[in-house]
Symmetry: C2
């Protein structure tokens, strides 16, 4: 038996586009002699469809796509992910299902049992879990069909669920496991996925075919990396990351095993590739081509500009250099240096005259009061307004350049440097931004394929917002080498004050940093969506009260 | 037996504050001779604690509050809501529990079974449902203890869950039902709550004591309205809305019934009271006193200012009048008229000089291009920056004045009039804002207790953003009398295009409006938290993809 897996980039709610892609993949698989073509979870509508699922019309359109695939299933089995209606009056109205189509018929439907409801996932919001489990007989084989999370309760010390759905099917002696997933990227996840697939293969002693989606849906990036695993626990094949891919496998060969095809998983390269796809898909799926951003001469905006040029093409990236009276001379030089090396359009707009017009308007109120964060914020907001003005006039999307460390502690101005349609680095700590810059400088991204596009000076100078004379980030923040590991433990690992102190962090620093993080929830609430690359990004995956008083 | 209910305004994560309140209520109940004191759901930590629940330290502090209450339970039973740890390794790590404390002991713990995971609720994210159900024997009575949603699967046509937890206890013949809730306000909800309590009382033929929380947690407003219902299905008592309250009831009297004490439920008054509490609690719980907002002469900012004065005191509300060259003469007059009648501080800051400085900076880019939405947005952003400048300098919170109709269709400028720490009217349609204005004008809110503080002209003139000469809302939007009912059916009732056309809405208008709503998700993503007063507000209760293509 020949089994085709398709890891495709779906677009939420774009039924025509998704179906067209799947129909092409079916014909490709048919031409390659496949018996079976497998798409990912909720592939007809894209994942996550969120509250679109509450619209009856949306479900009807999902069903119409399933029916369209059913009609082309003559001579080939098609497994596709789609919501299905729960016929029982009690319980949620939908199931999250894998449909098995063949010869114009529905051969079987297996609902998902384990409904992830944590981090970015909300599946209990929409779906009723499966209560029935049966293998699907197809061309002399018995297939244990499952959806995403249903294989994830195996191999954990602290399992999230009380049952393992595949256990329920093993009495029927399936020949192999087929899992259709929408498993999002974070830089730890591809390794975890292989660990989990292996835990299942070792438990059930049969091969597994695991197909994942690819491409970004706003903040959530799917990395593909679909897996075929032999009963020996070796990775028979792993599809590429961040690319669409259709491949056909011979079941007998997979069964034999003896082949190891696992890809390397280098954190910074993975993050880089994820961010490029994240930017590209955000623009493409919204129907935009051109990005704009402010280039400060610092490392965050430099890295964002280089990533944007990689994602959209240098001809589609425009930058403004917006010096104030507090900008250092080298900032404009460094920014210009980058723009010229990278070959992107840049303009310089000094903001001092506008700042002075604000000062004039505010003089009756502020006369005699000292310069403080208010005046810093005004500068940031003038920049935001200028960038948005060009964006509005010429149809760019403004990219936000704030990094995760700044987002965490609220080091940024709401409606100022926090402006933007998409936060590129909001899930990348400052220390990781440096690693990303070093990586980018090894790539031939400059005009004439030169490397080292990010100026050494942008990398080496002490970080500064340059909103008052001589300002440095370390005036108000601990050094990033200390701050970032502390934030990582608090945000990614949910370690509280007691645990952090036990790890060796200074007690007063812990209290101060946790307070900063918690007090600034109101800023993150209004921030742009953040491309998620870690196991705990800001946004839907981290839901915190604003008026809470805990550690704040 | 005497049973005390306490509906209190908890503060998320403010363990000391919440405990102090509860200890005082216990002493009050003891002094009134109560056998039993009942607090609401998750009362030790406030509801909803969201991802704070993922911190072990947070759970330890919850447990410490339960223990503190345990120690004062000599001679009085105390029922309190708190998370408890799930001893099983499988499943989520926590339960959402009602603790029954007495004489220094834990007499019983009943976990919640039905975990609401829809709209603003995410309980499956954190909690494992109950699997055991036992009445709690106390002073000769048997109590069916339950948490919030556990009574809500009764009396529905399309029940969300497959079991009714109280059914499981009825074999033990309880004498009455005790339900501890955190049931948020929307203007339909108090009536629904009574319907649900009655459905339970009619099913089980015993009295019910239902205690709710009160007060706002950012966007979510709890209205109290705790209910005591006799077996005859009559409301023996309903506690006031939007106020803390402790009352003691005699079980025998409740058992006898024959008393009906249901409160009136007038939509606009309820919305008014909710918004006042929402503003007041947001400021109080964040430790702020003073609000600022821009007063345009239009109805939305007028209503927001009056609500703010009601919530915070007129001495704590400051407004700026920010006319541009496109503002009509009467706008400043109307705004000044309101400020003077209401007795709040106002200043006039014409934005033209700043607008001209932006024009100067942008001239090299925009020369020869027509005035369009870009220039409109610049004006809105100048206003936002000025308001934020005063807010930053003097410690105000900026109140946002955008209404739900505008939020829905994206009629507003990101980083401009969408600025603000809290959206007061973001869940109130424009046509409801008029009703609210009419209601406010019946109240003695002016200086010297005069009524009619909102100028007739602000109410009667055609709505306009005044960002270009002669602009009216109806230039780009349908009239609100048509738009609002359409939005209501789409947003509150999740009716799709087919159903809306069947209701009689024009097909082209439906397509246009639904497209506007869906295309503007990116703006709502970055909007301030919205005080929720309807059954479907923007924010956590409505989760929509940004890059979706459905109806967009």
């Amino acid at each position: 038996m020949k089994i085709a897996l398709a890891q495709l980039d779906y677009h939420i709610g774009n039924f025509e586009g998704n179906l067209e892609k799947m129909l092409a993949a079916v014909e490709q698989a048919r031409a390659l002699g496949a018996d079976l073509m497998c798409f990912g979870e909720l592939s007809v509508c894209g994942y996550p469809p969120r509250d679109f699922l509450e619209f009856d019309d949306f479900i009807r359109r999902c069903q119409a796509s399933v029916e369209a695939l059913q009609q082309v299933s003559h001579g080939i089995g098609i497994v596709v992910g789609a919501p299905s209606r729960n016929p029982e009056v009690e319980g949620k109205d939908l199931h999250n299902s894998a449909w098995f189509l063949h010869d114009g018929q529905v051969l079987g439907v297996q609902h998902k049992t384990l409904l992830p409801t944590y981090d970015i996932f909300d599946e209990n919001r929409y779906f009723e879990p499966a209560t029935e489990f049966h293998v699907i007989p197809f061309r002399g084989k018995k297939i244990a069909l499952s959806v995403c999370e249903d294989i994830w309760n195996v191999g954990n010390e602290n399992p999230l669920y009380t049952i393992c759905p595949l256990d329920e099917m093993m009495g029927e002696q399936p020949d192999f496991i087929l899992n259709i997933s929408a498993s999002p990227f974070d830089y730890t996840h591809a390794a975890l996925r292989i660990h989990t697939v292996r835990a299942n293969v070792e438990r059930y002693k049969i091969p597994m075919f695991y197909t994942n989606n690819v491409g970004a849906q706003t903040d959530i990036i799917f990395d593909g990396g679909s897996i075929v695993m032999s009963p020996d626990g070796q990775v028979f094949d792993e599809m590429p990351y961040f690319e669409e891919c259709v491949r056909v496998y011979d079941l007998a060969e997979v069964q034999r095993g003896g082949r190891s095809a696992e890809q390397p998983k280098e954190k910074i390269k993975l993050i880089h590739d994820a961010l490029v796809v994240g930017i590209r898909d955000y623009f493409r799926k919204l129907g935009f081509k051109k990005a704009i951003l402010g280039l400060s001469g610092g490392i965050d905006s430099a890295v964002t500009a280089v990533l944007a040029a990689g994602a959209l093409g240098r001809e589609n990236v425009r930058v403004l250099l917006l010096p104030s009276q507090y900008s250092s001379g080298h900032s404009v030089d460094d920014a210009r240096d980058l723009a010229e090396k990278l070959g992107i359009q840049y303009d310089i707009v000094p903001i001092r005259p506008i700042f002075e017009s604000f000062e004039g308007a505010l003089k009756p109120f502020f006369e005699g009061l000292p310069f403080n964060v208010t005046e810093e914020n005004i500068q940031a907001r003038i920049r935001g307004t200028l960038l948005m003005a060009l964006s509005n006039k010429f149809g760019h999307i403004l990219l936000n350049t704030t990094n995760k460390s700044e987002m965490a502690v609220g080091y940024g101005t709401l409606y100022g440097d926090l402006c933007g349609g998409l936060s590129v680095l909001g899930d990348v700590y400052k220390t990781e931004v440096y690693e990303l810059a070093a990586y980018l400088n090894t790539l031939p991204l400059g005009i004439n394929q030169s490397t080292g596009v990010i100026p050494r000076n942008s990398i080496e100078k002490p970080p500064s917002a340059e909103l008052r004379p001589g300002q440095k980030d370390t005036d108000s923040l601990p050094p990033y080498e200390i701050l970032d590991p502390l934030l990582f433990q608090y945000i990614e690992h949910r370690q509280g004050p007691r645990e952090l102190v036990a790890m060796g962090f200074d007690e007063a620093l812990v209290a101060r940093v946790l307070r900063m993080v918690n007090m600034n929830e109101f800023k993150r609430e209004q921030a742009a969506p953040v491309l998620r690359v870690s196991s705990k990004g800001f946004g839907m995956g981290r839901r915190m009260p604003i008026v809470g008083k805990y550690l704040g």
